[in-house]
Symmetry: C4
Subunit: 270 residues, 4 copies
């Protein structure tokens, strides 16, 4: 915001702008939050790619979404308006504050935003370590939200499962609902169950996955879903927690390579 | 029909046309029914898209079909002539009355129509709430038509399964047949088993799915088939009926988004 | 052959030609059989399409093949030289006699032909009703060749399974081999096990499928493989044999539609 | 190297070059090994194709790699720099000695190479019969690395499984690690477990597959993964070891056909 003020010309204009901010602050939820300024174009490109990669892998469609924290302000995040993931372009990306209020809807009605945007705002609010969030309805994850069989790491690529994947049961918090995270309170409830884990399943609904970057959260979503398809009922030698910690600690340029492959495929397609 | 008459020039021609209509009416099944007039072009486009989306998802091929009620007359419905779903274009769409008789076959023999068109006519006749119908041979549904394991909702997207998916056993009605719905009587029998449910399985054959719009019936077909692939034998926490009702009551713009994504893919492909 | 003789000009030439045929006949396997003349171009196009459709569906690759009886002579059949199914073009199609000897290899060595061509010749020899043959390694069929669980019809599209799908155990006939049908004797053994059934599984190897036309044999191969993926261990209501007979008796234009859809996809692709 | 020396002009230059080689030799690991000269362009093309075919089949992504022994020197092998397999081009191919040291990184830092290149060097060192190596994370192989169910040959195409597929448990050799083959010692340990077998599974990680050529190792990787998806718990008639030996002994032009099909698809795609 300081940057924005500096761009203005006179002291009088600065005072007026400060006053506007105060008024906006008092007005609370009724007023749009102030923008943190234009995000890094590379971040926008990666967010577009993340949408299309997850659609290409069958993990997002017109439901489910991916967001990333704003590079200029950790109190803002970026996410597409309500649009099918495979169709997202840079101009669909909107900025939100941590109460999941859009900075500027570009004239769209609120109904044109994702209803469940509160998942993202509440996680960013309570988890300063999280830079990117995916909410997915990945089919292979659904059975693990509705049985007593826990997800466990089968596989080098899904080592993070070793850190625990809790299951969110919305009935424990809100009784009978339409199962959507329709408000900040439900987003907060979900984030409490998520705790410090990398991901949480949502019973009969899907999952939320977090990560320290867009490639990491996309990779985790892909391998969480893949691990679910591979997990069998028989006696399995799961990965040791210590192995998992060592793998996660060194997660590095290998993912960047894979990201380039995934990205090339979806960004040249249409 | 009024529109057609007005387009004619003299009173004498009008009388002759009225006479023709009377004669057609008396002639009954032997005579083609009268058209309700040209349908909304958007409805035709969506019907073409519905065919191709379901083909793209592996849920229709040269067998199986999707129809929609005519926007000008609830006693008419629209469906492609007998053609593989992925090849359907606007000029393949024909109009039928609720006895499943074509208004105009454009010179095609009756054998060029789908044999099982009676499924559609009979459902539209007995279910005024239904606007669109799919008949599918979706592979994942087949096992649930031939075992005692009922389909149950695993998943937010398939909440409508909670309303019940009966199984139609053609042998109970007609003994040994080639299993096709070859006449209005079999269509009526199937509709009786369907009752007020959103869909019915057909033993050893496929399923019929209904909905209040083309996007709804396409979405239901996709998620009915997906739910079947996810349903396991173990102890599962199925969705509560009340949750399902709440989800269905609010089914809204999310589907419209997904529809746009599905549609873009198939309409730009060829 | 009569047709060929008539095309020649003088009695002396006819005598010489007859002599040549006699010599060829005496020379036996060492001499190429005489051609039945150019096949119907539509049949060639359909044979190319059949190769590519089965490749597109994952049912043929560089192993496995599809053939059709020559339209001019029931003692000849047509099949591609040894080439991956998705790459087959009209100029790869060769003519064979029922001893599976090529009429003209166009200069190719015999090693450039499919080793297992004897499957086709021997079936055409013993089964006059068969017009087209597929030999596939379809993955989903493999388990049913190596367990005691029989293939049974789940499904309207796979009604022909009701007529029985025997399993060929090559060890019963030839002991330890490399499992390939490398000569007419093994082709004959396989055909004896096939008997009058529409298809036979080959233990640890694949299957052979027959039909009265190319679209029928391609459809049967696709739905045989699909039925295998759907068949479960639980108590299943299989199709009644009488239903199956009725379905098969009426198999008609529905397949033609599907064939057009399959064909468009593969013939415009490359 | 002789070729390189001959290309120089004077005796004095040759002496200087020889001296350089001696110094390089003394300097050991700190100095890049000498090139065996430019590989056969066809080998490079096939290595590029092998990368893309395995990516196309879902068996390689940004992790996992394929290498081939240099055609001029059995003490050198060729492998891509660290890049997603579907994006590999000829200019990404680097030359390595059997200590897995690159001859020339073309200015890339060592971190731009695959960390696990030691898998390849150590196998080539201990297995003179091996011409090509794949390291894959193929999903279907993962369960067989973590249960007591052994991989067994279901299928003509996977006859080589009959020769035994041992499982490498990295904890038996190195305790808790990040599970990667990060140095020659771990590569040596893995090769000891591999022994004379065609492939070895790596618990919770993937597999290594060897072969006498690029098409053979690619085919083995594809059919090893396919066999895993087909293998069921029930009583199965596995292939006899003698059958497997006979099949492997005759493995021939059939694979070449399939290779052309696979190659056409990936080499014309981008």
């Amino acid at each position: 915001m300081v940057r924005e003020l500096h761009a203005r010309r006179s002291g009088r204009e600065i005072l007026l702008a400060l006053a506007a901010v105060c008024i906006a602050s008092v007005a609370g939820a009724q007023t749009a939050p102030v923008s943190a300024g234009p995000p890094d174009p590379q971040l926008i490109e990666d967010l577009v790619a993340a949408n299309r990669i997850l659609a290409d892998q069958g993990l997002l469609d017109g439901w489910g979404h991916v967001s990333v924290r704003h590079n200029r302000d950790s109190n803002r995040f970026l996410m597409a308006r309500g649009v099918a993931a495979q169709l997202v372009t840079a101009k669909d990306i909107l900025e939100f504050d941590l109460d999941s209020r859009p900075v500027d809807t570009h004239g769209l009605p609120m109904s044109a935003l994702f209803t469940e945007r509160y998942i993202h705002g509440e996680i960013y609010k309570m988890r300063p370590d999280v830079v990117a969030v995916v909410h997915t309805h990945a089919p292979s994850l659904i059975p693990f939200g509705v049985t007593k069989v826990p997800l466990k790491p089968m596989y080098h690529r899904s080592a993070f499962i070793s850190f625990g994947i809790p299951v969110f049961e919305i009935r424990d918090r809100a009784g009978m609902t339409d199962m959507l995270i329709r408000n900040p309170t439900l987003g907060h409830d979900l984030t409490e169950v998520l705790g410090s884990h990398p991901a949480a399943l949502m019973r009969g609904h899907g999952a939320v996955v977090t990560g320290p970057s867009l490639p990491r959260v996309v990779g985790r979503t892909i391998f969480l879903a893949l691990n679910a398809t591979l997990q069998m009922g028989g006696p399995i030698t799961y990965m040791d927690d210590e192995e998992a910690r060592k793998i996660e600690a060194r997660e590095g340029h290998g993912l960047a390579r894979t990201w380039e492959g995934w990205k090339r495929k979806v960004m040249t397609k249409q």
